[in-house]
Every structure is written in C-alpha cells, then in structure tokens.
Amino acid sequence: MTGRITTDVRTAAARAWRGVRWYLREFSGEARWDEYLRHCAEHGHEPMSRREFERHRADAQERNPGARCC
C-alpha cells in the first residue's frame, strides 16, 4: 500500500519535473535546436552546427527585437 503511494508520488513528481523542464526549454527557445534536428532527420537534411544555427536565430532577432512595454 505505502509502496504504491510512494510510486504514485514519484510518478507525479517526475511528471511535474518533466513539465517544468519542457516549459523552460520551450520558453527560453532552447527547444528550437531539438526541433531543428528532428526536422532535418525527417527530411534527410544534413543539419548545420549548433553555433551556426544559433547565429541564424540571433540574426533574425536583430531584425525584429520586439518591443517591451512599460
């Protein structure tokens, strides 16, 4: 009985952790790289290096910085 509860708690905690980690990676844009790799794999492209990829992303931000409100 207690064993079952511990497992439930553990599963719930693991799920919560996965959720937080997923959110932070999506929110910060880190997950973009994984998506890109998956996209390349699906279409059989050779992916560029991470450094190059992040530079492309920075260039896009350069053109569109986005306003920040008061």
Binding site: E30, R32, H39, A58, A60, R68, C69, C70
Partner: protein
C-alpha cells in the same frame, strides 16, 4: 469579407459549439463560491473606515473578480463578439516560416506575451495613485482591466491575427484612413519617446545618491555581456544554463553592493541625477547600435526570469506576512486634488496615473505585430490577450498593496517632491505631519537606516517606495534582518527591466524612424546601413534623453510634472487602439456588439480628454501647465522668486518646462482627436451600408491543427486531439512545437 463568410469543414476540427449546455451542479457551486468570496472582499474594502483591514482582502477581491471576468465575460467576447473560429488557420499555421510566423504552444506564448507587456508601469502607477487611498486604485485596476485593458489587448490581438499580424499603425491607415494613419504613426512614436523618458526618470530617481543601487545595476551590464558571449561563443544556445549563471551573479552583485559602503568605491558611485542622465543616454545609444545578441537578448532573459520570480515571491510573501492596510480607503487628496505626489482630483487623475495594470495603450503595439504571428488557434486569444492582461493587473494590485501597507508618513515623505519636503528628515517630518500624517525625523531616519540608504526623503518615482514595501513584506515573511538586501534587490529588479525596456524601446523607435524616413530617403531605411543606424539611434536617444534631462532638473519635481504626461499619453494610445477595434467591429457588421469596445473607449476618451483639458487649460497652477507658466512668468517679470525655485535660473527652467509639457500635452490630445474624427467618418459610412463592409481581413483557410483553447485541455479537447492524431498521424507533429516530451495535457 465578413467573418462568417467561410465555414469550410476542416478534418478533425474541434466539435462545433452547439446550443447552450446546462451547467453541472459542481460548476454552479464553485462559481457561486467565487462570487460570494469576491463580493465579501469588495464589501470589506468599501465599508471599512478606521478598522484594521488585512491587505489580503485586496488580493481576494482581485482574484475572484478576474476569475469571473475570464470565465464569463472573456468567453462571451471570444464566442459572440469576435466569433473566434478554430476551423480557420491562424497566420502562424498558414505562413509558418519558423522565424516570426511560428505556431507556438499557448502556454509558452502566454509567457512571452506577458513578459513583453509587463514592466515597470504596473509597479509605479499604483504606488503614485496610493496618495488617494487604497480604494480608488483598487477599483480602477480591477474594473479597468476587466472592461477596458484586457478587452483592448484581446480584441487588438484578434484583429491583428486576422490580418497576418499587421501593426496598429498599419491597421489604422488601412481601415480608418490615411489621415488617421499618419496621426497614429506620429502619436505612437511620440508616446514611445515620453514613455522611455519617464521610465528612465524612474531609474535615475531610484539610483541617485545610492552607491549600492548604482553598483548592482552597473554590474548587470558586464553580467549581460558575459552571458551574451557565453551564448554566442562558449556554449551556443544553452540559454537556461547562461541564465542560471546570470541570476547567481546578479544576486551576488546585490549582496556585494552592501560591502562597498564606506569604501572609496562608494564615494565614486554616489552619482548626482545629472551624471546618471548622461550615463543612461550613453548606455541607451550604445545598446541600440550593438548587436542584440551581445546585450539586449541576454538582458532580456535575465529580466524576464527575475520579473516572474519576484512576482511569485511577492505573492507568497503577502500570503505569509498578511500585512494590514495603513492607508485610508479614500484620502482628502482624492476629493481636493491637492496631493503632493501628483496634482489633480480623483477624476480624472487616478485613471491616467494608473495606466499599465488597468488599461495600457502600449500593449496594443505588442498585441499587434509580434504575438499574433505565433498564435496556434484563434480561440487562444482569450487566454493570451485577456489572460495575459489579467496577470499584469495582478502585478499592479500587488504593487498597490506594497504601497498602502507601509507607514503613510513615510510614504508621503518619500513621494513628495524635494521642493515640498525640503530634503532633510526634519523638514520632511514637519511637512508630512502638517499634511495630517504624523511622523518624526527619527522615524524617517530609522526607515532609511533599515534599508541602508543615505536618505529616503523625496525619493520620488515610485520605485523606492515599492522597494520599501517589498522589503517590509518579504522581511516579515521570511525573517527580519534582510531588509536592506530586499530593498536593493527590488531596486535592482525594477531598474533591470526598465533598462531592458529602454534598450528595446530605443531600438524599436529607431526602426520606426528609419522605416518612416526610408520612404523619402531610401538609403536611410536600410537597417544594415551603419551610418543610418547611428543617426537614427542618436535621434531617438537624443529625444528621450532631452525630456529625461528636463524632468530631472525640474525644480517642481520631474515625476510630479511628467508622470501625468506619461499616463495620458499611454491612455491616448489606448484610445487609438479602442477606436480601431470599434471601427472594425462595425465594419464587420457587428454593430450590436460594438459597445464592448465602444464603452471603454468612451470612458477612456472622457478621462484622457478631461485630463488633457485640465493640464492645458486649468487655471490652477498646480494642475494646468500654462497656468503654471503664467504664474512663474509673472513673478519673473516682477523680479521675484517663487518657491520652490531658489534662483532666477530655476525660474527660467520652470517657465520653459511648463511651456514644453503643455505643448506636448496639447499635441497628443490633438493627434488622438484626428484619429477619432477620421474614425467617426468611417463608422458613419459603414453604418449607412447596413451590413458588413470590405476590410483587409485575410481569407479563411481551413486549419490542420487541433489544440486546446484554455490553459488546461478539457476532456472534450483531449478527445478531439487524440482523434486528430489518429487521423493525421505523425504528420501533425512536423509543425515542430508539440514534442513527445511535452507535458501531460
């Protein structure tokens, strides 16, 4: 075309909304309970006179009202007024390019949108408005957000989304007319300059004569640079890692500021306001021409995570500390209009002092442009637009609480301009006690010693007051002895995101300028042309830097003089946005629902035009800029000095500043009148047509995405998603936002 023209059937679309379902008993019980708690909280706040009232009633009144508004009013707007249609593909889906058009998970986009709209505004306005008591501010923040602010954000987001994410200015030009469009463009640019100047003024006031504050803020620059290099060169793309390092360094910088006291460094960092203006202007210029990856992007990561962290911390702190309200419900300043923080009576000045948090026109710039290009499903505008603004309103309520739970003698000593308090604890105590808030020089000195600041007298601008409030709440909640740390932590966090706003705002202003002038001088519009960048940056920085300097050197107090201009400017921008959405509702043939945006528009026009009128034409020199000018000019002609001026130069300055502020004020109001008049013509024409008239709305294209609308997926939505998954298979995932590692929905 009208919104109802195309009803194509897309495969796997969520079940159509058919009829009205009978609510379950559980739903009825829960919502009745929310309504009862909310009504109780409002009653306590409204009827309390002289009893001790817990600040938590303010929190409950807010949260229950938000919940009801989101559940019922926002849903009504989405379904009946806007008629969101999840069978239509959003621009993110149709024009997906992985750069600006990108299908984004609703919860992630909610975070991005909130981070973009919420800054120092909702923290500062409520603090200043606290001089009228806690009730006017609380009421306007909550009622305002529900019926005006959140409605504006959500409807602008929706209409921009239906137009591929067009900007506010573009939509005004295409849907209202060229005259209105040009007026709106000038207004947006001018308002942006004022906003940047006032935000910078708040930083200057918070950092002047405060070596600890200057030390920790100055260190944010090398920290951001380090993060920039880390993300570019050392470990590209590891944002969370770099941010974690940045946050730790930032906390060390705040702690470290406490150690420099009494050293030579402290003396070197004790800067006057004039020096800080120079430093900020130089910083703003350099930041605007540097590549974004080096300074802007890393600073943005830092300020976003700090912003969310502090808001959560403050909410927890409030629940633990359960502070008691020190301010009266309504002070005499609300009736008389003679308050020292800003002049003018409750109507209209509470409604323009609290802009962000209740109704903020600046949000319309973010709700059109960036966010609409990333929305996955149309129905999500309710969560992102309306919900995001409710969240900002919650921040404003927290800030108001922080200001009304501190000793009110201290509050007025901190927020009255130096010309009134005399600048020393003794004179300030005498002045504030005379206002009816008894305090002593010892109490004021003890308050500044507790947070290790040389003085708290006349630290106007709201940020230091908020920092004192936050320090009190957090040291009550998490143990005494840390007040000085929390104070400087709060100052650092406010300055951090004001600087982020200044960086980003200067750059956006520069782009606007380059884009506009690029129409006549092609070369100037090329964003990669270096001399153009430098000239445009210098122009933008020069404009806000000049107004900042005017504010800082104003003998009457810059915040006292400029904050009303800032609030009115922001609300006038809201008037432009609400005018646009009202025109669009009518053009789409939804006259019977036009009240949803027309009522807040009418209210906003009433308050801003009354405020503008008073600021321009009032014969009371404390309120009217030109009356003020006349009074000081007369005294000058007679060869007299009028307090607070102490030299003939200061007399000159007051005369000059009042004239400048008055002209700016009148110009803003006129620009908005031009837009509104142009809109009335368009509305009249649309009404004559009796039915939908052509607009620039994009044609409906069936959507292939199935996603929940709200924060949490309903059972029905989960079924629809599973069904869609089964039909389309793995192909649906290639849009690249919904990964297998995604959290349980």
């Amino acid at each position: 075309m009208s919104t109802t023209a195309s009803r194509s059937d897309a495969g796997g679309a969520p079940p159509a909304r058919t009829g009205r379902r009978r609510p379950s008993v559980r739903t009825v019980v829960v919502w009745t309970a929310v309504a009862v708690v909310g009504a109780t909280a409002w009653t306590v706040l409204a009827l309390a006179r002289g009893e001790t009232v817990s600040a938590l009633w303010m929190l409950f009144a807010a949260l229950c009202s938000y919940a009801i508004a989101y559940r019922f009013y926002a849903r009504f707007i989405a379904r009946r007024v806007l008629q969101v249609d999840d069978r239509r593909a959003t621009p993110a889906e149709r024009l997906h390019n992985g750069i600006d058009f990108d299908v984004t998970d609703r919860r992630v986009l909610f975070g991005h949108h909130f981070a973009a709209i919420a800054g120092a505004g909702p923290l500062v306005g409520p603090v200043l408005a606290a001089q009228m008591g806690y009730l006017p501010g609380t009421t306007w923040i909550i009622v305002g957000v529900i019926f005006a602010g959140a409605v504006q954000d959500m409807t602008v987001l929706f209409f921009s989304m239906r137009r591929n994410g067009k900007s506010l200015g573009q939509m005004v030009r295409e849907e209202i007319g060229i005259v209105g469009g040009i007026a709106a463009l000038i207004a947006v640019f001018a308002i942006m300059i004022i906003i940047l100047a006032v935000l910078a003024l708040i930083v200057v006031n918070a950092l002047a004569e405060s070596p600890w504050g200057v030390f920790s803020i100055a260190l944010t620059i090398p920290i951001a640079l380090f993060m920039g290099v880390y993300l570019r060169v050392l470990r590209p793309g590891r944002v969370l890692e770099a941010t974690a390092i940045g946050v730790v360094l930032l906390l060390l910088a705040v702690v470290g500021g406490g150690w420099i006291d009494g050293t030579g460094l402290a003396e070197a960092l004790t800067l006057s306001k004039e020096w800080l203006v120079l430093a900020l202007v130089l910083y703003g210029f350099v930041a605007s021409v540097l590549p974004v990856w080096l300074l802007l992007t890393p600073r943005d990561y830092l300020s976003t995570f700090m912003k969310i962290g502090v808001i959560v911390l403050l909410a927890i702190g409030l629940l633990i500390a359960r502070p008691v309200l020190q301010a009266d419900a309504v002070t005499e300043f609300a009736r008389e209009g003679t308050g020292p923080v800003f002049a003018g009576s409750l109507f209209p000045f509470v409604f323009i002092t609290i802009a962000c948090g209740a109704l903020s026109g600046f949000h319309a710039l973010i709700s059109s442009g960036t966010t609409p290009k990333m929305v996955a499903k149309e129905s999500q505008v309710r969560l992102i637009g309306y919900g995001g603004m409710l969240m900002e309103s919650f921040v404003a309520i927290s800030a108001l609480i922080a200001a009304v739970v501190i000793d009110q003698g201290l509050y007025f000593a901190m927020n009255a301009p130096a010309g009134a308090t005399g600048g020393t604890p003794e004179t300030a105590a005498a002045y504030v006690s005379g206002l009816g808030f008894p305090t002593t020089a010892q109490d004021l000195a003890a308050a500044s010693a507790a947070v290790q600041e040389p003085s708290l007298v006349s630290r106007t601008g709201g940020a230091p007051t908020l920092a004192v409030g936050i320090a009190n709440i957090l040291s009550d909640a998490f143990g005494a002895g840390m007040a000085a740390f929390w104070y400087h932590f709060a100052i650092m966090f406010e300055a951090l995101f004001i600087l982020t706003a200044v960086d980003a705002g200067t750059r956006v202003g520069r782009f606007m300028l380059q884009d506009t002038i690029g129409n006549v001088w092609r070369r100037f519009g090329d964003l990669s042309w270096r001399p153009g960048n430098i000239m445009a940056s210098a122009a933008v920085v020069g404009l806000w830097g000049y107004i900042l300097y005017v504010g800082v050197t104003d003998p009457l107090g810059g915040v006292n003089q400029l904050f009303p201009l800032f609030g009115i400017a922001n609300q006038l921008l809201a008037a432009i946005a609400l005018t646009l959405v009202t025109v669009l509702l009518i053009k789409h043939g939804k006259v019977k629902y036009a009240w949803v945006t027309a009522v807040p528009l009418a209210w906003d026009l009433t308050t801003t035009m009354t405020a503008s009128f008073q600021k321009v034409f009032s014969s009371d020199p404390a309120v009217g800029y030109f009356a003020q000018r006349a009074r000081y000019a007369e005294a000058q002609d007679a060869g007299e000095l009028l307090a607070p001026a102490q030299t003939p130069e200061q007399m000159d300055r007051i005369v000059y500043n009042s004239t400048l502020n008055g002209i700016l004020q009148a110009a803003f109001a006129l620009l908005v009148v031009v837009v509104v008049v142009n809109a009335v013509v368009v509305i009249a024409r649309a009404l004559q047509a009796r039915g939908p008239v052509p607009t620039t709305e994009e044609r409906a294209v069936p959507s292939d995405i199935v996603e929940p609308s709200g924060l949490f997926a309903t059972a029905e939505e989960k079924r629809a998603m599973a069904e869609h998954e089964r039909l389309v298979g793995a192909g649906a995932r290639s849009h690249g936002t919904f990964t297998e590692e995604g959290p349980p929905r």
